[in-house]
Amino acid sequence: MPPVITLEKLTKTYGKSRGIIDVDLEVQQGEVFGFLGPNGAGKTTTIRTMLDLIRPTSGRASVFGIESTADPVAIHRRIGYIPGEFALYDRLTGKQTLEYFANLRGGVDPAYQASLIERFDLDTGKRFKTYSKGNKQKVGVVAALQHKPELLVLDEPTSGLDPLVQQTFFETLREAVADGASVFLSSHILSEVEKTCGRVAIIRDGRLTKVDTIEGLRDLAHHQVELRFSGPVPTAAFEAIPGVSDLAAEDHTLRMRVAGPITPVVRAAAQYELLDFVSREPSLEETFLAQYGREAVEAGPDGR
């Protein structure tokens, strides 16, 4: 089956400013694909180029096999999109807003629209400008889902939603995927990507640094191991084990970082009388931070 999204050497620059550089990736049909990166890494630029809202400086983006600049309307007909930041019509109520976007698509199934409104507990009788941030986001979510698109392009979709609504959102997403939809989910919230996506791309400073499955990313993970001995700490017995680093001894306790298989460490520890053995697998978030550095996540919003 052909990929639903194909990016080939996709590059977008803004004068001298970096946007994205040589981004290559494919998203398969039926896949939930996570797109991770710190602020300003180029996530939104990638999406906007993919949807022909901005034009690539070089390279190409294809969605459903259609080059984005060739026939964007054909692409848009089959997608649902939630931008990272958006505003809608202040004077229109939620109901009118949804009706308008439904009309732009030639109509939607009113029962499905009503079910989404009910699920997200959206009061559609209020004017858009009177909504809270979360309710504005709900309108965007329903507008993107109501026509049952084949591909959902979601840029930070849970921004402003409370945890319960976030849960509802991901349930709805799973149902859409079960119904045959594909999802391209841009986020910097690793936990939501971890729970939702099958594969993930990580972008940093405009370049893709990793495309892998969630499990593959986890393989990058290390274990934090803490051993408490009844006697003196045998530091030297662990130094030579492959993958072990950051050894730190304190009283009867030895702490270390173990990358890769943990079995050699267990075997070495078994040679000694142990009072305690603690091994902790870090979350994807900790892995991400370890791999790319905290400063990458906390980078200022100077990029796009």
């Binding site: 809202l53 901005i54 649902g80 976007f101 698509r105």
Partner: protein, 564 residues
Amino acid sequence: MAASTGVPRHPAATFAPIPFRKRIYGFGSIFGKTIRDSRLSFIIAAGMFGGLALVMGAAIGTVFPTPQARLEVGKLVGSMPASMVNLFGNATLMGDKLGTLGGYVTWKYGAMFSLGTAFWSILALSGTLAGEAARGSLDIVATSPFGKRRIALEKLAAHLVLMWLAVLVVAVMLVVSSNAFGDASLGDQVSLGNALGFSLWVGVIAMFFGGLAFALAPLLGRAGSAGVSALLMMVLWVASGLEMGGPLEAISPFHWTVTHIPLVGFYDWAGVLAVGVVGVVFLVIGLELFNRRDLGVTAGLSLPSLPADVLGVRGPVSRAFGDQLPRALSWGVGLAIWGALLASLAGPFADQVAKDPAMGQIFKQIFPGFDFTTAGSWLQLYLELFLIAAGFAAATFVSKWASDETGGRLEVVLANPLARARWVVAGGIAALLAVAVMTAGFALGIGLGAASVSGTTGAAIVGTLAMGLVAAAMVGVGVAIGGLWRTSLAAEITALVVVATYLIDLLAPALNLPDWFHQLALTAHLGQPMIGSWDPVGIVACAVIAVGGIALGAWGLTRRDVAR
């Protein structure tokens, strides 16, 4: 005594002092940033009013160069009904001095200077805090280590500095203009003292109504305070100008200063002082209300809202028109009131001229080609103002169209199966429909005004189409700029084109500039539509610019990135 707990994180930290220039202009203070943010409006206001002062001197010196011509101006004005004469300036008090440059400028344009500057102040002072509160940015500013009073004071001071600078520019331009183009033997020269006296009057009027908007803004919000203040300003101006009597005239600052005509040497400092004092009181009230009330919480005006059906959700054209409709109706209603007022005054005066052949002869000498026995001729005299209003209305329609992109909606809209070109064309058509609504309002106002005094203004009603044509052309200009380049500047550039067109049309004949230069002004090609004399070239030019501009914009947007 409450003990302070905790340790300062930077107990002995010292930072480089903020440069003084950045405190005055830039990001070194709230005052500096407000000055910086207001630079464009200052340039437009000072440029427009300063330019007008300069151009009027040149025009009067050229059009009325001889003592005989000046005498005729005096006769002309003296023969007009008092109700019409004094609306623009106290011609009765000026007497013979009306024929001087200062007198004529005061009579014909004095109110424009004060109303225009006051309108600027209303917009600036109603929005400087309330607008920022509505956007949410005021919350962040208010959590900086300043009191709310100081924040308001710095923002207020910034506008007042710019406003007074702008009226100072007017004073200087009046002096330059009168000395460069006036005739000393006819009493044209305006001294710096006289010019400053005039500017002081313009400034206190602006402070009065701007202060009122500032005082109302914490209660009514930006739109409510601006609307109430602007409406009251117009009502009080008319009440004073038409000498209606009663409480409205009594509380009008125009009435308090009706004998203050410094450009011809008449002063009423007590009146000016009274207006200034009330203006300051309004400003202090505004400061205190802002200081005491919850941030961003307003009582709000319960304005009637449009029925859901006309807000348009069926498609791009109806949606864009639904967005335009409230401002199209606002322009339509405002222009209808203006049109009704002028038509109701023009009709009786036309009848008066028709009954007095001698008076008609005077008019023919001064305005050759005009038949002042019809109300349309009188309205034709004001055509230039109508066209400016139409142009600015078009700029606001362009601004509304552009807000889809500048407000971040376009991204969502274009993610639907809607081609970029179609969005531009739909927005352009909606803006043209808005122009039609506005023009219909103006035509209706003229018709009603004329009917109220049993006058006939059939040609003038049809002539209002000229406004629609110019506005449509300006929509074309704005959409072209927005599509080809960027929507964030489309409305501003459209407004500049309107101002430039006006100045070219006014300046070129007055300064004997080459004819080709005058022909650059679109408004020079419309003939005299208010009396039924049309120039087909202008009609075709407007239509081509309107349609071509929208087409260009549609083509342009398909070639550029969509902004966020």
